[in-house]
Amino acid sequence: MSKLTTMGDAVERFVPRASSVVMGAALESLIPFAAGHELIRRQVRDLTLIGPISDILFDQLIGAGCVRKVVAAWVGNVSAGLGHNYRRACEQGIPQRLEVIDHSNFTISLALLAGGLGAPYLPTYSLLGTDIPKTNPTFRRSRSPFGGEKILLVPPLQPDVAILHVQRSDEDGNAHAWGNLGISEEAALASRRVIIVAEEIVPRSVIVSDPNRVLAPSFKVCAVVCEPYGAHPSPAQGYYNRDHEYYHDYHRWTQTAEGNAEWIGAWVAGVKDRAAYLEKLGRDRRQALRLKEHRYAAPVDYGY
């Protein structure tokens, strides 16, 4: 069954106001910026954002006033520094107050893994002695019933929707992703629904030729969007490199709330969709991000 649709339709139908949404599950790569920008254009409000680090995507959604709560290990700008919008929201309530539930990268992984396993919680030795449990009231301190050691219990997260950018998918949402996966699999399995955003749509035969590379079962997927360069400025292995300069421009531009409004006007509100965004980005800039060389994997034999 084809679930292929437009970004606007996918967001409209499956990410209503006050949804909890996982994005940036692969960490610094394959970040679904195109989906995030559509949420901003549609002014979807009161979102709970869930993710490990998200690079600047969470900062953008916060600055656009779409976010009520953040459940994350880190929010900022990986290669440039702090996230100015995140700071303004937490320090001054601009554009609005934000509830922050702190995690580490390990505990956010465990929370989504527990969600995907249908487990009541998962235990860890991490974060003992830290102040993070003080700003994440969902954790419980306990002792192992086996050895008596001190442990931290991490409860499950089951988000409403995971938005995952991948290299390729079929129309049904059987998706191939490669490179570091971060918490992409955990996010897909834990969430009630999955939106797949793909660099390209391929026939089912391509996907089933290599089932080990499939991210999650397609019965979790509610929509498939074909959006080439949809992860820009983050990289997509085998498709394009990271646009480092874009992150640094964003960092400079968003230092003030006024600058942020200008940035949103220029790069999100002022472009009607991803195609218009890419036109604004320009051919030369896309050219500069092209692969320098191909590095194909050797084929594997699934024969029997």
Binding site: S79, S104, L128, L181
Partner: protein, 252 residues
């Protein structure tokens, strides 16, 4: 020979990596330190990256983030983050690197909130993987800029645990990893007094002195008996660092 503070930090960080060790590489300067160590004294070191990567060769290009495509090309393993964190928790990681915004004399780091969490003066980005690396690595090395406002008596918030309030604290709270072994700053290198869990000045970088380090340190500085000048980067090390970061994005 002329070099930047970041270049001597990278060289000092690389020297913390022993050959054959499994290293949790972190971000920014440690990414270059790992590549430098691989090309000099630690060719058998293995790098773990929390985004889900394992490498036994340095990436072919400068990395702005650990998820940059050159870090995936030629990786030994591209996997899920939880597998990397699992290796960390089982005690497989010999050495972890992290950075920090605020540090105290027990090696505790704050990258979360300056001021109270309810109404912070400054909201910092948070832990990322740093709290996990600090809690669970067998040995930890911290890399950060040295300023009096950053090196404080007690951090406002412990994001990444050092020795807490001193000796025995890690055992009491149940932490598995060994805690900090060194702090590398723009001015100096601290080691740790194992009997107290406290930072002790081990060496000051060329151009610095015990007095200049003390002036920029917000706690009562303890100076090691055999304190000396930090070895500057060798010509070979500098050449490698500049080849790795030709435009000096991280190191100038």
């Amino acid at each position: 020979m002329d070099f930047s503070p970041q270049e001597i930090m990278v060289a000092a960080a690389a020297r913390e990596i022993r050959d054959g060790e499994i290293v949790f590489t972190g971000m920014r300067l440690p990414l270059i330190a790992f590549a430098l160590a691989k090309q000099t004294h630690a060719p058998r070191a293995i790098g773990l990256f929390e985004c889900g990567l394992v490498r036994d060769t340095p990436a072919p290009e400068l990395l702005y983030t650990m998820g940059d495509p050159p870090n995936i090309a030629g990786a030994l393993w591209a996997t899920r983050m939880i597998n990397i964190m699992g290796l960390l928790q089982q005690g497989a990681v010999d050495l972890g690197f992290i950075g920090g915004a605020e540090l105290d004399r027990f090696g505790n780091l704050n990258t979360s909130y300056l001021g109270s969490p309810e109404s912070p003066q400054t909201k910092l980005p948070g832990s990322g993987g740093a709290a996990d690396i600090a809690g669970l690595s067998r040995r930890l090395v911290v890399i950060m800029p040295h300023e009096r406002r950053r090196l404080v008596e007690r951090v406002d918030y412990i994001t990444s645990p050092g020795f807490g309030s001193g000796r025995g604290w890690r055992e009491r709270v149940g932490l598995r990893g060994g805690g900090p072994g060194a702090i590398i700053t723009t001015l100096c290198v601290f080691g740790f007094d194992a009997s107290k869990g406290e930072a002790v000045l081990r060496s000051y970088h060329p151009g610095q002195s015990v007095a200049s380090v003390r002036a920029e340190t917000g706690w009562d500085l303890r100076v090691g008996k055999d304190v000396r000048k930090t070895d500057p980067p060798t010509a070979e090390e500098l050449a490698i660092i500049r080849r790795l970061d030709p435009e000096g994005f991280w190191t100038r």
